[in-house]
């Protein structure tokens, strides 16, 4: 089957109920929204009706790689993972690096759609243009690292690229994710539990087909320019030197950013405490640097672990997210604990964010006398304990002991633990909230809270607030001068809107977010991505047209949330402690969100989006103007269209 330029040309439909895989052309799917997240979210919107149980037969998981993935363009290796989200009941969309996305393209596929439920554990093996469901009984129960080792050995294929779930996913537990290449989590979306409910253990891919591009010479020249741009960026140099762990440490110690401390009770953590878990403290465990496929930034490392975790003693890591999750958010100053807890989460197949949300909830409950004392002592559920996470996470993953109370997530946990527990869990729409910069940095907080995925800073949260960009640069990027002024509420609706569009562009094409203006406004703009898209595929779009496409994808996701989860304005509200508990010390001492400021900022955001300011819902007029009458019609049919 001859594919178009950039694209592999095939989509694989996997019907687990029937045990059947079907290869179809991907061309009709990619026509409108180009690839990856755009294609996947449109498909989920069209094919899943409201009322479908996220852990039931009717949910689907889509693994997809955009048209730029696997080409000579640097850092073009992203895999999009999309599904209905069991944490929120709405949109699930996540993204993983490593090498699985490119391998899928080299195996001849742009996307894999997994649907139905298998009667017994299976894994999917994909090789050049074909897919095959195979038995997974003997790997069911294994950690993700062990799963990868067994599959590579069995197939005598050391280059096999794998995404797998661990025991957490198999047991359909909150926070369960898909782990790619042993450590890269497609997280936040509960996809591990969705796959576990489907009895789907792993996807293993080996591909040796070529990807053709539209203008080979032009793309090679552009790739060289991109590599130069990326390697000369000061922001990315820090990543290359010491990963996001090091870069985050520098930014917070210098006062640009804040931290997420003790279940977000505070956004300040003393530098003396952080000094124990800063990047240098983990150097003695490092084996080598690691990079995603064809990435000149490679902000990751391979570590010897100071212990064995689920049968492995080596792990890739350690991202800033994990340091935040297992360091300051638990008040932990042991670097070994941070490294081991992170490795354990990966082996169990749980994402860092929900892991820390649940552990910190348990500790705060314990500190307030709301858990049995014998359990508290056995698990050492105290702030600063290096053991708490290591002991509690396996119990959650296996639904054992105290872990069983947290295994079904926040709503179910509150009903098990009692109403008094509700004020001690920090979440957005049922999803985890483990973020820095949510009290002092107003736009960052807005972008996190309104994210269609339920929290997360890799959607609309503007990194420019940490960099102090000038009013002129802010005006050029977002149409308002306040992007670089963290504590201003004015204009932030525009800044978040502009950030969301830029992220959607990157997510449709498959390049890494680090190549974009997010970390460094001198990096790739939507116009740059449009040029790369043309050189790769021959598709002509301007940067503005790409952002409009991104806006449409985002509105499809927003509509999915309205239909499936009924989120409205009141759900776009941060937890009370972000208003009521100001930052205790440091350069941002005294900062908190103000309710009046938040409401003004949120109203501005809805206005910029063209959504109803009172409900936060989309309008018929707004959707028609965007060219989404079908979306409007579906909302109208379900009574979710204001004024219709």
């Amino acid at each position: 089957m001859k594919g178009p330029y950039g694209y592999a040309g095939r989509l694989l439909r996997v019907d687990l109920t029937a045990g059947r895989v079907t290869v179809v052309s991907s061309v009709p799917y990619v026509e409108e929204y180009l690839g990856a997240r755009g294609v996947a979210q449109q498909l989920l919107f069209d094919e899943i009706e409201p009322g479908v149980d996220p852990l039931g037969d009717g949910n689907k998981v889509i693994l997809s790689a955009g048209p730029l993935v696997g080409t000579i363009l640097p850092a073009s290796a992203r895999l999009s993972v999309d599904n209905k989200n069991p944490h929120t009941g709405g949109v699930g969309s996540s993204n993983a690096g490593g090498h699985l996305g490119p391998e899928l393209k080299f195996a001849g596929f742009d996307a894999v759609v997994i649907e139905g439920t298998s009667p017994r554990p299976v894994h999917l093996y994909i090789s050049n243009g074909q897919g095959e469901l195979r038995d997974a009984e003997d790997i069911w129960g294994l950690g993700t690292g062990q799963t990868e080792a067994v599959l590579r050995r069995r197939l005598q294929e050391p280059s096999l690229r794998i995404g797998s779930i661990g025991p957490a996913g198999e047991n359909c537990v909150a926070g369960a994710c898909l782990i790619v290449d042993g450590a890269r989590a497609a997280g936040r979306s509960g996809v591990g539990a969705v796959l576990g409910a489907k009895k789907f253990k792993a996807i293993a891919v080996r591909g040796t087909l070529p990807i053709k591009v539209f203008d080979s010479r032009g793309l090679l020249a552009a790739a060289r320019e991109c590599r130069t741009l990326l390697t000369r960026s000061p922001a990315l140099r820090r990543l290359r030197e010491s990963g996001t762990h090091g870069a985050y440490g520098v930014a917070t110690n210098a006062g640009y950013k804040c931290r997420s401390v003790r279940n977000l009770q505070d956004s300040y953590w003393p530098a003396e405490k952080y000094s124990h878990i800063r990047e240098e403290q983990l150097r003695k465990y490092k084996i080598r640097r690691l990079g995603c496929f064809n990435c000149p930034i490679y902000g990751s490392f391979l570590y010897h672990l100071p212990g064995v975790v689920c049968g492995v003693n080596i792990s890739e890591g350690v991202p800033a997210n994990a340091v935040r999750a297992f360091g300051e958010n638990l008040d932990v100053t042991s670097p070994e604990s941070v490294l081991l807890t992170y490795a354990l989460a990966n082996q169990l197949g749980m994402d860092c964010d929900m892991s820390t949300t649940l552990i910190a909830w348990a500790i705060e409950l314990a500190e307030n006398g709301l858990l049995p004392w014998n359990e508290v002592d056995a698990l050492d559920l105290h702030w600063g304990s290096p053991h708490a996470g290591l002991r509690l996470l396996p119990l959650i993953a296996h639904r054992e002991g105290l872990g069983a109370l947290f295994a079904d997530g926040i709503d179910e946990g509150i009903s098990q633990l009692g109403d008094a527990s509700a004020s001690h869990v920090v979440h957005i729409k049922g999803a985890s909230l483990n973020e820095a910069g949510v009290r002092a940095h107003k736009g960052y907080a807005l972008g996190i809270v309104v994210s269609v995925r339920g929290g997360g800073h890799l959607d609309g949260a503007p990194n420019v607030e940490f960099r102090g960009i000038s009013p002129e640069v802010s005006e050029a990027m977002f149409g308002v001068p306040t992007g670089g002024d963290p504590t201003a509420y004015e204009g932030k609706g525009h800044v978040v809107f502009g950030t969301e569009l830029r992220k959607a562009v990157v997510d449709m094409l498959g390049m890494c977010y680090m190549t974009s203006e997010w970390l460094d406004h001198n990096l790739l703009s939507p116009d740059d991505y449009a040029r790369l898209l043309y050189l790769t595929t021959g598709i002509k779009k301007t940067g503005s047209e790409l952002m409009t496409l991104g806006r449409r994808v985002h509105n499809i996701e927003k509509a999915f949330n309205t239909l499936h989860a009924g989120f409205s304005r009141r759900d776009d509200t941060p937890p009370g402690r972000l208003f009521d508990t100001p930052i205790s010390e440091g350069p941002w001492k005294g900062e908190a969100l103000s309710r009046e400021g938040w409401n003004r900022m949120l109203t501005e955001y809805y206005r910029v989006q063209g959504w109803d300011e009172e409900s936060g819902w989309q309008t018929a007029q707004g959707l028609d103007a965007l060219g989404l009458p079908d979306v409007a019609e579906k909302l109208r049919r379900y009574g979710k269209l204001p004024g219709a």
């Binding site: 080299f106 591909g207 087909l209 690691l290 990079g291």
Partner: protein, 102 residues
């Protein structure tokens, strides 16, 4: 393409700075075939996840980028500095450290 079929294979273990990103495979395939096709490259990078070691193999099909303006493209595209022209010509180990952070 198996190792045996390509004739002479030279390989070296643990080139200290390699990140296993495989940019070298990709750019080599572009030179060899005009397409993005790492499987067709004359160079292969293998990361052993059991101990973190890396092995780079060079196949007999390597032509030192004959016809390209700036010599072996894999050397230029390796941002990590794990490859040198000396490596590609003579396949000799360097004495570089592992992370460059010592």
């Amino acid at each position: 393409m198996s190792l045996q079929e390509t004739g002479a294979v030279k390989s070296w273990n643990d080139p200290g700075l390699c990140t296993a990103c495989r940019a070298c495979e990709l750019i080599c395939s572009l030179h060899q075939t005009g397409r993005c096709d790492p499987a067709a490259a004359s160079i292969r990078v293998a990361l052993d996840r059991s101990d973190g070691s890396v092995r780079i193999s060079l196949f007999g099909s390597c032509d030192l980028c004959d016809g390209e303006a700036d010599g072996p493209l894999c050397v230029h595209f390796c941002t990590a500095g794990a490859l040198t022209t000396g490596h590609i010509s003579n396949v000799s180990l360097s004495g570089k450290g592992r992370t460059g952070m010592e």
